[in-house]
Amino acid sequence: MTATRTPYGALPDHCFWSRSHRGRTAAEIDPVVRGAFRISPATRIATAGSCFAQHIARHLREAGYTYLVTERAHPLISEPVARDWGYGVFTARFGNLYTARQLLQLVQRAYGDFAPVEDVWQAPDGSLIDPFRPNIQPGGFADRAEYDAARAAHFAAVREMVETCEVFVFTFGLTEAWISREDGAVFPLAPGVAGGDFDPGRHAFANFTAAEVAADFRAFAGLLRARNPGAKILMTVSPVPLIATARADESVIAATAYSKAALRVAAEELRATLPDCAYFPSYEIITGAHARGAYFAEDLREVRPEGVAHVMRLFMEHYTEGAAPPRAKRRAATEADSFAEQVQGALDVICDEELIDRPRRRSGARTGAAPAPAPGGGGGGRLGARTAAGRGPAA
């Protein structure tokens, strides 16, 4: 007796729900199947998108891959400060790009193809806020000259990213957005949240459809490939739920389901129709039934480190090739590094040197330096008026 033949008979295990899960822990589940291409340690990788994309950027950098950063703070600025100011969080200092329309308009603006009418907000203290990246400059820009210079540098960095990246990773975050009624400019946050003032006459709510998301991203890909034909694209969908919906008649839970579904549909269509454009299932890794919700933190929104680790482990497994370079060789030493090491790094040594007293000691003059106290005696040397002339130099 021969087994009944079906179209499923020859399919691999990953096509079957039961075989994909049976006998595996959550951390062992792998919905990737195979990477669409491979990233070498030398591949220039750019990232953009919602908050979740930051994990990819950080992990690649820490693992020694060539994470492309085209907009850097001056080397004098320490990394924690630079990150607070939006440097190195993504490839350029654009902050979170939640929607495909935002991404498209960013590139259009960088190349001078779109100039939004509402291009600056003024804070009550007079500082200026960039409506399209309202959180990248703590305290805002001091004046218009600083604002314009920063934006010009930013656009140059975006152009460099477009023209030099070899892999562009984008994480779709939202379908909901606030747009200008005047020209359709998309803001990452509703006016009034992190700057500006909400004006129903000027600002409108938009909830993009899957078709609109796909069309916007396709237009972006066209701009990218027109200047960088070889660039590969990797799309992901953020698993992070909406923090709020602007739809008063809808639960944020249902609004999240719509948003993620639309983004996922758009990604699927783009993967099927755009060349060298792949989808990485970070959304599925975090939200899949196998995880039983355990990858979300107590607030049911933030992704726990173990969830991020699962995503990045599969990303590295399926999309990278070759061993990452040893930490010591990951970055060529620059003159700026040398400066930091030799001058700034030596601060403590400098501070501990008694720069002034030394020559006077050699000359035998009294220094007035406080004598070292007796062991266990505590307290600094006392040099009151009565004793000043009678004390010798420090021991």
Binding site: H74, V343, A346, E353, P359, G368, G379, A389
Partner: protein, 264 residues
């Protein structure tokens, strides 16, 4: 009210105050009849702090114990804190391989032909704050918390305008001064001002009984350290500067509420 007892705590910048007081005492003309100084850069107190796994810094128990004992024994009317300061000099004194400028109100820009990045003042202030938090403000927070008298935080002296002087007397910067060169004087002045602004803002926001001691006009020439206060050193001021500042401190301290008494 005439204040009598001064306690000075700090590192190398404290030296000019200490020497000035000693000289005044020898001449019988001390502005502060009694003064004692605790030099935190003395070998017995090294290191002053330990660094935690998260790179945070914490004063050692020995340092905190010595400061407590010093203040308890001295029962000062006023405390002068001249701690650290080289976090600013490390950033400002030498020419960085990647040129930069920082705008500052009322200060000229550097020649644009020099090239390089224009760092927003607020960003440079954030960097200064990060460094200050790990250096001068770490000491200040501790002293402010344990002090039983007003604390006057003294910034490092303003920069010396002369590149030749700095190269001739590179001090601890040594060969590095010639290798990297000295940063433009105007830039050094701007960075000094940002550093002072940063410390003053922190003290105003967090201080319990502390005052940022703004420098008197007499120490400046064109916003730089006046020539008569130079010594054979790239960053520190001389004894005459210390003497002038002791008088300035006495005038300012006399105008603030008197100490509430000795420490418990």
């Amino acid at each position: 009210m005439r204040l009598r007892k001064l306690a000075g705590i700090g590192h190398s910048h404290l030296s000019c105050f200490q020497r000035a007081h000693a000289a005044q005492a020898r001449a019988g003309a001390a502005v502060w009849p009694e003064a004692s100084f605790l030099r935190l850069n003395q070998p017995a107190l090294q290191p002053n702090f330990r660094t935690g796994p998260d790179r945070s810094r914490h004063l050692t128990e020995e340092v905190t114990r010595r400061i407590a004992h010093f203040l308890r024994r001295g029962a000062p009317d006023a405390i002068l804190l001249a701690a650290m300061g080289n976090e600013y000099n490390g950033l400002a004194l030498l020419q960085h391989p990647e040129p930069f400028d920082v705008p500052y109100p009322g200060e000229p820009d550097l020649d644009p032909a020099r090239g390089g990045m224009r760092i927003p003042r607020a960003l440079m202030a954030a960097q200064m704050r990060l460094l200050a938090d790990r250096n001068v403000l770490m000491f200040w927070r501790h002293v402010d918390a344990v002090a039983g008298a007003p604390v006057f935080v003294v910034p490092p002296p303003p920069p010396i305008a002369s590149t030749d002087h700095i190269l001739s007397h590179p001090g601890a910067f040594g060969e590095r001064a010639r290798r990297f060169g000295v940063a433009p004087a105007v830039l050094r002045r701007k960075l000094w001002r940002i550093y002072c602004d940063t410390i003053a803002a922190a003290i105003a926001a967090e201080g319990r009984r502390s005052v940022f001691l703004a420098l008197p006009a007499a120490v400046f020439e064109d916003g730089f350290l006046a020539r008569r206060f130079w010594q054979g050193d790239p960053t520190h001021a001389n004894e005459a500067y210390g003497a002038l500042m002791l008088g300035h401190l006495a005038a300012v301290a006399g105008a603030v509420p008197a100490a509430e008494g000795a420490l418990p």
